[in-house]
Symmetry: C2
Subunit: 366 residues, 2 copies
């Protein structure tokens, strides 16, 4: 892995392009967008750690975006945590956005629990269990509406940072990637230190079988891939990128989920690829149990930037746990951090950010 | 009436401040926001002309914003028209926004028919018939969520232009104004040449009686005024202004409805008043059957700007009818026109705009 850094941002892949992308956004004012969605897939035991109990994961997307917009959650007490009590990465995102005075907007691809804050509705419904082979209704309409939103927002903001929150999202991403012929088996990420790869592959294979879809059969039909084994977040996120990236740079904030979005984007419009980068965290690119780069390189030559956050010396065990492989990324935490650093031209560092995160941790979790 | 103009914008009230406001926004990039809502009040026969039949008025807000975002309506054929076939002012708004490349966003305070385009949901419900005295649920929550949206959007856009679409809206505005002690009897506007003032007053008085509210009794309780005899558009619009106007100028686009919003805004936060102006059309300020200035001066010293549109020499009777008192304003038509002129520093004129409107009329109506 390369160790070249600008500010506290690691140029993790496609170094020169990554550096050029960072130059483009330096000092500029972004809009942060969090795309939320839900999938019944998240309730399969052992798959997702984005909630204290499987039932609570339904509240996680809503609670995450409430945290971003209000500074605290409204639909649940405290903040979303893993079964071990490790807090949501939205804590990082919120801290970064507040420190850098970056505005945010919520977009819903389709969620079961609606957030108690303003959100852009695209008419989508919550996603089903992908084992049925019928995962997402109206994927095309969600994508088209998101594209309209992306076009309009790109005419206001200097650039966009788009993140997501959908428990179970790495499994649905794996579904879309496999259906589109991108071999992501054993490469997708997990919010748990021990990545349940086999379970994820089993779930996806069950879905592909139910939909009568073989590996790679939908390489040129991304909407069908989403409909069969994806989730409603993916077409919403992809539509935003497709609508916006012709006019402004788009930092796609996340890990595995973002790779599935990228595959969809690429098959609609290769032209926008020159104006996007992936923004994630060091915990993702250092993860031995997954391989983001190995997925991305099968799709397109896109730079990967990684926020060099370091929680090893945090005062709080709940944050230190990030260094042991818990959570790692989500709710655009890495991308929001990179945007905060770029907007402040490096004045905001990993250290100042950790201080802010700890302050918020103390207020909300401790 | 003053006739001083800048570009084709009439400084209709508070000339010096109006000029200063125009200077502030000249050459800048706005975001246009259309706030939609619905009220059962619109179905009272003889009250609203914002639809071919009373039942069709329910589709008007959705169709209006579809026209803005898509260039054509989706939930109805053609475009919304009055019973006489005169087309929606959204035709003007859409033409102005497209000509000046101004992006737009839809915000819903609560609507019965949901638009088939992206819209910001504030959790509000469609409004009831104000004769029951129970017009709007959760007015406070709508306002608070809109305020959050306004704060975030004002951190992206250089300024905001906010318009509205709610059939029956002049009657609910009259309700809020009277409840708050602003004597708007005989002063509110109408989309018909013959303004049914007496019917509107009767409807509002029935509502006030049902809610046990006397004239002026809610001067300091705007949310109760909205809850009893208002509509869900008003708190959404007011919240956006309250959230945004501390940071950027806000052009409140409309006539009577905007005066009710202004009354609500003022009673929450007088400080923002210095950063707002009203943007409307010449047809509103020349209307002998209403008196916008007479309402506004009871509330605050806010400049009124009026787009000097002239349809008298249009090729189309449906547009000429605007000169005979049909429609007059709505969907932020006046404000969008002013914003287009200001953004282009006067390059876009009333004449070039009419050309564009006629092109769209031909495509969609004729």
């Amino acid at each position: 892995m390369t160790t070249k850094k600008i500010y506290d941002v690691i140029l993790a892949h496609e170094e020169a392009r990554g550096e050029a992308f960072l130059k483009k956004i330096e000092g500029r004012k972004p809009l942060f967008i969090c795309v939320i969605g839900s999938t019944e897939t998240a309730k399969i035991p052992g798959l997702s750690a984005a909630g204290k109990y499987p039932e609570l994961t339904e509240y996680t997307p809503a609670a995450d975006v409430e945290l971003l917009l209000l500074g605290s959650c409204k639909c649940i007490k405290g903040v979303p945590v893993t079964p071990e009590g490790i807090p949501t990465p939205a804590l990082i995102t919120m801290s970064a956005l507040r420190l850098a005075d970056i505005p945010s907007l919520v977009v819903s691809g389709g969620v079961k629990i609606k957030p108690l804050v303003p959100y852009l509705d695209l008419g989508g419904k919550p996603g089903g269990d992908i084992r049925t082979g019928k995962a997402t209704e109206d994927a095309e309409e969600i994508l088209l509406r998101a594209k309209i939103a992306g076009e309009n927002l790109s005419n206001v903001a200097e650039y966009l940072v788009v993140g997501e929150s959908i428990p179970g999202g790495t499994t649905t991403a794996l579904g879309v990637l496999l259906a589109m012929g991108i071999d992501a088996r054993g490469k997708v990420s997990s919010s748990m230190p021990k990545n349940p790869h086999e379970l994820k592959i089993k779930v996806v294979e069950e879905g592909l079988k139910a939909a009568k879809v073989e590996f790679g059969a939908l390489a040129f039909d991304p909407l069908k891939a989403v409909s069969c084994v994806g989730d409603p977040m993916i077409p919403a996120f992809a539509g935003l990128v497709l609508g916006a990236a012709h006019r402004v740079p788009v930092l796609m904030a996340g890990g595995t989920q973002v790779s599935a979005v990228l595959a969809v984007v690429k098959s609609f419009d290769r032209q926008v690829l020159g104006n996007v980068a992936i923004g994630t965290t060091r915990w993702i690119i250092e993860d031995k149990g997954a391989d983001l780069k190995g997925i991305i390189t099968q799709i397109a030559d896109i730079p990967i930037l990684a926020a060099d956050l370091d929680f090893s010396r945090s005062r709080f065990d709940g944050l230190k746990a990030y260094e042991r492989g818990f959570v790692k990324e989500g709710v655009g935490a890495g991308g929001a951090t990179i945007a905060a650093m770029a907007k402040s031209k490096g004045l905001i560092t990993a250290a100042t950010l950790l201080e802010e995160i700890e302050k918020n941790y103390e207020r909300l979790v401790a």
